[in-house]
Every structure is written in C-alpha cells, then in structure tokens.
Symmetry: D2
Amino acid sequence: MHQDTCPAKVKVAVIGASGYSGEELVKLLLLHPQVDLTALTSRQYEGKSLGEVFPKFANLPGAKELSFIAPDTDKILELAELAFLALPHGVAAEFAAPLCAGGCLVIDLSADFRIHDPVVYKEFYGADHPAPELLEQAVYGLPEWRRDAIKQAKLIASPGCYPTSILLPCLPLIKEDLIQPSTIIANSLSGVSGAGRKADIPYLYVECNESVRPYGVPKHRHLSEIEQEISLAAGCKTVIQFTPHLIPVNRGILTTLTMAPSEKAMANNHAASIIEQVDACLKKAYENEPFVRLLGAKGLPDTKHVVGTNNIEIAFRYDERTGRLIVMSAEDNLVKGASGQAIQSMNILRGFPETTGLML
Amino acid sequence: MHQDTCPAKVKVAVIGASGYSGEELVKLLLLHPQVDLTALTSRQYEGKSLGEVFPKFANLPGAKELSFIAPDTDKILELAELAFLALPHGVAAEFAAPLCAGGCLVIDLSADFRIHDPVVYKEFYGADHPAPELLEQAVYGLPEWRRDAIKQAKLIASPGCYPTSILLPCLPLIKEDLIQPSTIIANSLSGVSGAGRKADIPYLYVECNESVRPYGVPKHRHLSEIEQEISLAAGCKTVIQFTPHLIPVNRGILTTLTMAPSEKAMANNHAASIIEQVDACLKKAYENEPFVRLLGAKGLPDTKHVVGTNNIEIAFRYDERTGRLIVMSAEDNLVKGASGQAIQSMNILRGFPETTGLML
Amino acid sequence: MHQDTCPAKVKVAVIGASGYSGEELVKLLLLHPQVDLTALTSRQYEGKSLGEVFPKFANLPGAKELSFIAPDTDKILELAELAFLALPHGVAAEFAAPLCAGGCLVIDLSADFRIHDPVVYKEFYGADHPAPELLEQAVYGLPEWRRDAIKQAKLIASPGCYPTSILLPCLPLIKEDLIQPSTIIANSLSGVSGAGRKADIPYLYVECNESVRPYGVPKHRHLSEIEQEISLAAGCKTVIQFTPHLIPVNRGILTTLTMAPSEKAMANNHAASIIEQVDACLKKAYENEPFVRLLGAKGLPDTKHVVGTNNIEIAFRYDERTGRLIVMSAEDNLVKGASGQAIQSMNILRGFPETTGLML
Amino acid sequence: MHQDTCPAKVKVAVIGASGYSGEELVKLLLLHPQVDLTALTSRQYEGKSLGEVFPKFANLPGAKELSFIAPDTDKILELAELAFLALPHGVAAEFAAPLCAGGCLVIDLSADFRIHDPVVYKEFYGADHPAPELLEQAVYGLPEWRRDAIKQAKLIASPGCYPTSILLPCLPLIKEDLIQPSTIIANSLSGVSGAGRKADIPYLYVECNESVRPYGVPKHRHLSEIEQEISLAAGCKTVIQFTPHLIPVNRGILTTLTMAPSEKAMANNHAASIIEQVDACLKKAYENEPFVRLLGAKGLPDTKHVVGTNNIEIAFRYDERTGRLIVMSAEDNLVKGASGQAIQSMNILRGFPETTGLML
C-alpha cells in the first residue's frame, strides 16, 4: 500500500537467516514496502545467493541482488540500521552487544534479552547470561502491551512462540483481576518448525508424522518469560503450569488454558456475569488490535485460520459445572510467534503503520 | 499361538462393521485364534464381500467366505453367540435388547450402556435412554478394573476412547487417595478416526491437515462416563475439566492430566516422597497388566509407540514449583480405546488368555 | 506497490466463492491493489459475512464490508465489470452467457470454455455443451502463450491445474520441434484440494492420509484440453498418456513427463547437444517470464518451493541410457493451476503489470 | 497358527536392527511362531534393551529378554543359524562373508548381493564390490519367481523396495512376451521411511510434509537390479526409465508403469483381446500367490490397503487411445519391499508355510 507521507525505507539485516524463523523473516521483509533488506548472514550459506537457498523467494523484489554473507558485525553496521537476530540463545547476545554499541537497532528473536533477571536466565538456560549489561535497556516486545516502550527501544527482545500464545489471552484477565493467576494451566500444541531446522532424529518426518507427544515437562525454558510477564501483570511472583506438545503440522500453536475466576469476577456468582466480564475485558484490550481476532464465548480457534498470518485467535468458555474458565488461542509460531511479531515491533519502532507488510 | 487346552472357538458377529472401529474389530477378530467371525452387518455394504469393502483384509484367514448382510437380529442370533455392536449411540440399544433377550452375549462399543443413570444419559446425549431396563445388567468394561464383573457379564459397555485414556491413569491415584479428584484437568488430543467414517466437511483431508483445534468445549459427551467412574472411585460425586482437540493423525490419543496431590500424598511435603507414592501406586495397579506400559517419572508417552496395539503408555511428573502432578497417557483410540479393549473383554468373558489375538 | 499511472481499480465479482479455488481467489483479490472486490456469491453462504466463512481473511482490507449474496446475474452486472466463475463445469456456462451478454468480462475457472470443439466436450464431460455459441470467443487463458488474445478477450477459459503443469513444460519443446509429441507420458501427483471442498468419503482425512493412489485412469477429463493445446502446438492431432495420482498434501502438483527427442534434436546424436537445445528452448520461452522458474538440467522441482505462489518450477534431464527426455514441473494447483493464473489473465486484460497482486 | 508337523524353530539374528527395515524385521520376527530371535546387533544401541529402543515391541513375546549387542560375527555364529542383514550396502558384505563361511544362512536386505556383475555394481554403487567371490552363490530373493533357488540358498539377496514394486507387475508380461520391455517407463512414489532413519535435513518433518519431489533422476541405484532382472526375463539386455519421487507418507510405494504391448499381444489389434491376455497372464502368474492381490482392469491400487502387510496390489488398464498399457502396483516399502519379503524367503528356505508370521 502506498503511504503518501511515509517515513524513509529502513535498511535491514537478518543475522542467522537459515532457520525457519529466519526464512519467514526474509520473506516478510522482502515483501515489506518500507524495508530495504541489505544483508543476510549465515555461516552455512555464505556466498550463496538468496534464490539458491530459498528458491521460493527467488522472484521476490530485491531477492536477485541478495547473497548470504558471513556474520561480521562491522559489515552489518555498514549495511544496516536495524538488525534482526534469528540466532540460538547465547549466540544472539554476542552480536547484540557490538551492534547496539555501533548504533544499530536490534530486534532479537532469541531468548537472550527476554529475561530481566540473569539469575532466572541461568536457572532456565543453564549458562551465565552472556551480556547482562544490556538487560536493562532491553524491551520485551509484545506489541499489544508494550507499544510505548517499543517506540523508544534500542534493543527489543521479541517474545517466544509459546509465551505469545499464553500471554496475549491471559494478560488482560490478570490486569483486570478477573482470574487467579496461579491457577493457570497451559497446554500448548506446536508444529514441528518450532524445533528449528536441525538434523536430529526426533524431528525426522517418520518420527513426527502419526505421532503426538509431550516434551519439556514440567519446566520448559519458555516458562521463565511467561512467569516473568504474568508476575508483572499480577503484581506478585507467580508460577504456572505449562505443558508443550509436538504435533505433526509444519506450523501453528494451539494453546488451551484453564484458570479459576477471581473473587471479583465471581462477586455475584452468576455464569452470565462472568462471561460478560471476560468478554468485555478481552474486547477492551483487543477490539482495535489489528492482529487479535476475538472469537468470544461461541467460536473456537483453529490453527489453519491463522497460519501464514500475524493473527492470533482467542476464544473462551466458562464452565458452570467446574467453575473454571477455559481460554484458547491459535497463532502461527513462525509469524505472530516469531518473525511477524518482530516486524510488528519494527513497524512501531520506525513509525510505520503497524500492519505494514503484515496483512497476509 | 497354540493353546493345548483352549476353550472352543466362539462364534462372533460384528454389527455395524463399516466404520473405523468396526473395521479394526473385523481385522482383530479375523486374526484371533479363538474366534469364528460368522456375521458382519452393514446396511450400506449389504451383499458385498469383505474383501471388496476392506481390501486390506481380503487375504486374512476366513475373509474369503465373509460377506456383509443386512442387520437382522434373528439371523445374528442364529449365526453368533457373541455380538459386538459398532453402531452409533441410540441405534446400538435397539440391537442389544433383542440380542440379549435371545441369549447372545453383547459387547457394545457405543455409549448406550456406559451410563448407569438414564437422567445423565439424557443430559449428555439429548434423548431418552432407549433401553433403560438393560442398564442394571450392563458392565462398564474397563478390563483392568472390572475383570470379575466382565467374567459374568451378559452385556458389556466398552468404554469410550477418551475415557480410557483418562480413567486408566487416574483411577489408581484416586482409589489410593493420592490426588484430589475435583482438581483433575484433562487435555486430550485425538486423531481424526475418532470422528468416524462420515462424510462431513470438517473431517475432509484439507480441513484437518495442517490444523489443530479444540472442540466440544466445555461439556463433551464422554464426560458423563468419565465422571461416573471417577465419582465411583472417589466415593463422591465429582466433576472434572476435559478439553478434547482434533489433531492431524489417523489414530492415537494423547492425554495430559494435571491434578493436585491429596493431603495424604503431601503428608511429609517432600517431592521425592510424592513421586515415590505415585510410582508405587501405578506399579501396584498395573505392573502385571499386559497392556499398560508404565514409563514412570522419566519417560514420556508418544502415540507412535502404541498405535496399532492394545497398549496404553502412562508417565507422570511431579512439579515442585507448582505442587501439581502431571500424568500423561497415550493409546490407540481404535484399539485400546475401542476394538482392542472390547476384544480384551471378550477374552476375559470367554476364559481365553487376556492377550489372545492382541499381541500386535 | 504504488503505480503512479496505474489504470483505475476494477470492480470484481467472484461467483461461487465457497470452494478452495474460490477461497484462494478471494484472498488474492482482497490483497490486489487494483481490485475492488464488490460481490461474492454462494448459495450455501448467502447472507453470511466474509469473515464468518473465511476467518483467515477477516482482517484483510475490504473484508469487513463483504457478505455473500445469492448468485443473481442482474445483481452481479450492477456490481461488477469483471467476474470470476469458480463454479462446477456445466453451471459456469449458465452464468457466463448472461454476464457476457451484459458486457461483463468473464474469467471462468471451470472447464466449460476450454474445449473449442463441443463434440470433444461431450466426449469428456458427458453432456452437451451448455453454451456452444460462446465457444468461438473464448480464449484459453494460458498467459505465457496467449497474452495477445487475452488482452482482447471478453471470455477467458482459465486452464486446469494438471494442464498448466503439463503444457508449460511441453509447449516450447513441441513448438521448436525438439520432441515427438505423441511420446509424451505424463504422471501427475496432486494435493487433495484438487478434489474440491466436497463431503465425500474418499476425501476424508483418514482416507487420504497415509495413502497414495492413481485415479481417472486412463482418460481423465483434463486430457481434452491438454491434447487440444498440444495438438495445436504440434500442428496435428496428438494423444498423450496422462495418469493423475492423489497424494496427502493440501496443495501442489508435481508432474513428471517422459518423451522422446525429435529427429531434429537428435541430429548429431550427442547428449550434450540435446541438453543444450532443450535448455536454450526453455530459456527462450521463459527466461523473462515472472512466474516460471527454470531449474535447468541440475535442479529438481519441489512443490514446497511453489505452494502459496503463482510460480511454476521446471527442470529436465536427458537420459543417455534410454534416449529419453524427462521434464518435471511443480506448481500450486490452487494458484498457478487456478486462481493465481486467472488473476494473471485479469492483469493482462486490464493492463496492470502482470505480477500485480501475485508476488507471494 | 499351530503346525502339527512343523519344523523346529529357527534361531535368528538381526544385524543392524536400528533402522526402519530392521525395526520392522524385529517386530515380524518376534511375532513369528517358528522363530527364536536370539541376537540383535547395533553399534549405536549396544547394551540397551529391546524395549528401550523400540517401546512398541516391549510387550511382545520374547522381547523382555532381548538386548542389543555389538556386531560380532563369532558371537552371531554362536547364537544364530540364520542372520538377516539390515545394514548399508558395502557394510553388509563384510558380515556376509564370515557368516556364510561359518555356516550361517544369510538373508541380506542391502544391495550387496543383488547385482550379479561386479562391474555393474561399481557403476551404480561407486565402489568395488566388497565380496565378489560370494556373488555366484547369492540368490536374488524374489519369492514369487525364485522359489526353487531360495529353497537351496545359503545367501539370499532380498530385492529392493522399488524393484519389487516394478518387477512383480512386469515379469509375467515380459516372460509371456506381451509387452516390449524397453518401452517400460516406471514412476514410483515412496514414503519417507525409504530414506532410512538418518538425521539429514531433507528428511526432517518440515522439509517433507506438504512437499513432493522427484529425486535420483535419471539413474537411481535400484535401476541396476531392475534392469538385471528385466533383461533376464526378456532374454536380452534391456534398459528402462525409472523416476522415483518422495511423498509425505511414512510407508508405501505406488508405482505406475506405462509400456507398449508386444506384437504378439497386438496380433488381432483388439483392445478386448489385449486386456484378456494381460489379465490371463497376471492370473496365471499370481492367482495362487498369497501376497499378490490382483485388481484386474477395474480396480486401482492404494497404498493404504497394503501398508502394514506383505501384500502387493496390481491393477492395469489398456488405453485404446494411445495403444499403451498402464500397470500400477502398491506395496509397503518396509514389508513386501524389505522385511516381509525377506521373511517370506526365510519361510521358503526353512520349509515353513510361506505365509507364516506374515498374515498381517
């Protein structure tokens, strides 16, 4: 879409462009009307053209001129004003430090800057934080809840795929004190691209097809950022239950949450009233959000309705029999759960309309 | 396997043999060394040979002589001593009554005789019970927990697929008072064969592939039998949370349960002690059960390890952070969740070794 | 993309918007910068909003205002200048006649106007042609080969999915007399969306998943248009072998063709020379085509590299051992094989840059 | 099944039991009533119990006592009278030589002994044959065509998966001179298990799901044995066209063959006569074969009807328009295409009824 008074295009680098999130980033950035994709790095693909590595993008505008280069921060600083890091945790921080120091805006898709507390980082990631001095300035980039901070940020920690699918449905209910945060039980089902493009036996076609399995029980790494954000919203340290599962789809996360309504929500102990309050709360939070589709107390989410988009679907039910609330969400783990959300943050940061390049 | 002193073969009919459970039943019965499959009924396939309808079974012993006949109870009484009903609920009862009256043993795979209370049946199935006079004699055929009753039964209500995946892990923990039954939250993921072989848009390949979705929220029909059995075990009326999901596999159910340990289990408030008690309880219940594979507090279930078998895998974790127990199970919805379990009941009823015809 | 001197937007209707091709058309048209989608018809969905039927598109620009209406040609003539027909064959012609008569441009995705000879139509489609008087003016809309005719067309018959995957690789080789057309043997593998969104048992998830099967052997309907176009290119009536197969993917067609080189190609009976001639011929035909990706004699096509795009990949090998040429193509049956190609024709017809709205 | 006069059980080893064929072998052998599985080797799993590596088989009879041992030929000679080699080509021969020398019967599932001519082996496998001295005694173990030789064999080279799917349909037609062998064009579609259990990026779930692709064009290794056997049947050196494709299923091969009828078949140039001759030829060859299901000129094969069984389905059509014959087959690449067929050979070799342990 043409923007008559649009800001200048931004020169963008993608560091670590060979994984599934990196690939999705590259596609979205090539199609983004306000972006000049000027650098792609990958040790593995150094010297190869974009079209060789991702034939699907070979015909996109700007693709012909692009080749993978080795990851070199000086070179990146020369070529780009903003860099997306699509690297493993631990490695991302090594790049973030010199890039930030060099004045390059950084949007990190790894976990490195999501956890404010380096002690928690070590507990969940098993190593000392590689750049604790940067933690203070990092913004947890959940656009629907951190727009103002994102606008000013130099370093954005884009949320994980599971956390996004859990936090977006839960945060408004917690903030309005409609639920008891410690009763949250999250069951998430993720497509196999969430495991990354790595040659491991458990992710072979034959091992995943016609298979469903839980993993990372009971303390998956993503719990660290989920609980951090829930605790912030709740105003007190909160732990929740989270069980991820691997299912045979390429993309998509479906999260089913159960939780107990708060005393406030139950005040008149009337199902209709609870439903109304939850509905009103979600609408207040998201009615004008371009990427949140509220399905209310009648609809049900389906990953096939969000895959390939930056949308998240949210539905809920109140179960009178048990007195519990069931809240369900669906998103694309590679888009709203990774690359799309990161671009949404870039749009905010650079003053582009938030949906630019993200309409489908 | 040869049984030197084995009882005589049993003449068996399958009523409604055209669906997925019926098909699996036919396969298992053709391969069962103690069974003469003498009648197959299907309105749709009347007159067709078994091999035409199920080419996969055309070469199995006994298959060549079998053709589908119209469902006629007199004819069935003539041909069989034992009939499996693989019919929709409501329809099954219509056949069960005359067959039972005629002295034929009946193993019903539908829901018609699972619910003892016709009021609950009506609440969940939306119609008056079609044969309430038979309810008293029906045995809920969960073999691991009802062996003695099954041995004497004339009418066995074989449990549903979801209930099996939930009850087998939960019942021992409830009976030993290690958990608080009302805290049970069950999330189940089922393959598409669970929806039956019916031509509905939502079950088309393109609608299910690359899709995950919850359904039947919050009051799926199977809750009626789940809660009946949990209440019986708990000694008091109990409701639980249950959310089923449809995932793109042909077969398999993965169930993840969270629950709070009981006061008894928490007595010394020590994680190791809780784990030990749960482990001991499950071992006591199932260590010698041929179809229950206990994975303990280290393993994790995977539907690909049980699909095509009558096995159920059960694993658990205690989460010290939240104080909750997570119990997970995997089964084949068409075997342990339907046809295999029904044959297991037949084996018990007829005095065959329980694993006969069910080793893979 | 902004087009400074772009023609005015075109008002477009989609007739029969509820199938898979219709759905893809709607998505592409909503995202097309030169299109105002003004009417959507579907008997089944009459009165429903676009977002209810296709939640995935609910947030696209222009989606909120759109609802399905009953198919009424007067109404369509009022609302649109150009109509896409995504209807079954036979039905499409009923709409085409009054729309053409009313001055509306028609792009038909059905087979109704692809076959010039009503006798052949009857042979392959089993019924008299419903509007033979329109056949003369219909243009077979394969953009890479009919650009000039498309520019002037009032009625475009957009090619079928299989024909596109076969004709694009074969036509240049036939036209340059590099192969013997009657030796063409085409094996095609199609995703299940090719069967349409209809509730038939053979297209259920469980029936298609973990299944591969040929069908329509040996005389699939699409042969009529394939042979028509091959005969035209060859200058003589030609029949070919074509065997379609159904494979468990949502989208994508992979076609593998074998054929004998012509005497001309074999003139100096030298493998390198044949490879060179084929390569040069394909490059001459397609090097500047935005939607044809030539992979030459080294690469191999893969549907995952084209699904979701309007691209077709073409690769070839010369087998010295057998003296045959193997030519392979991959396309998305719903995009290049249906809706994308139809929009490509619309772009040509209306003078828009041909890639408008089709970059991904 | 009980065999009153059955031969003694055979002590069997599986060398290289960790791949997909090895896994299937282990399952079938554990269920085989005439087999004592006494040794399983795997460098990778040495010391692990069978149940740890293959939880699915943990409850099978004899499974509890089995653990993987390192591959040591002295040890194997001590434990087993017959060894299946489920090893990569090249490696298999290293084991075959000492085992044969030690008097152990060997059934090799690799390609090492399938090719009679070491020059052809080198041409297709890129290395000198590792044990050319054994080639003369090796029998190409296609049971339907080599029963007598198999009965006497010391070393059986069990055919490849693609060759089985091509040779079984073609051999009778060639032997009766009903087709012209050099016109055979084979297109095969294989499930991903055919690539083996190896951690390579192209076989990851996300790379294979929603993808179809040809590979090994135009000279796949299996051509060497296909052409050897076709040449033998034809009585003259024959080359054919063969294009394999990878499709997203775990198991199954669907092969579609086109070929020209011979002059003999065309003698009276009458379609009905050709159909009759082909039908009669296939019936003569296979009517009494327990594992070949002839679908004639009306049926069509489907991998889902053979997966998990040792059956192959064969159907054909004569296309009057083109004068070509289309012959199609479906099999399970891991059973009839590998482990099942190898056991079928063992049954013949040891005088067991041929279907023992292979009924499903």
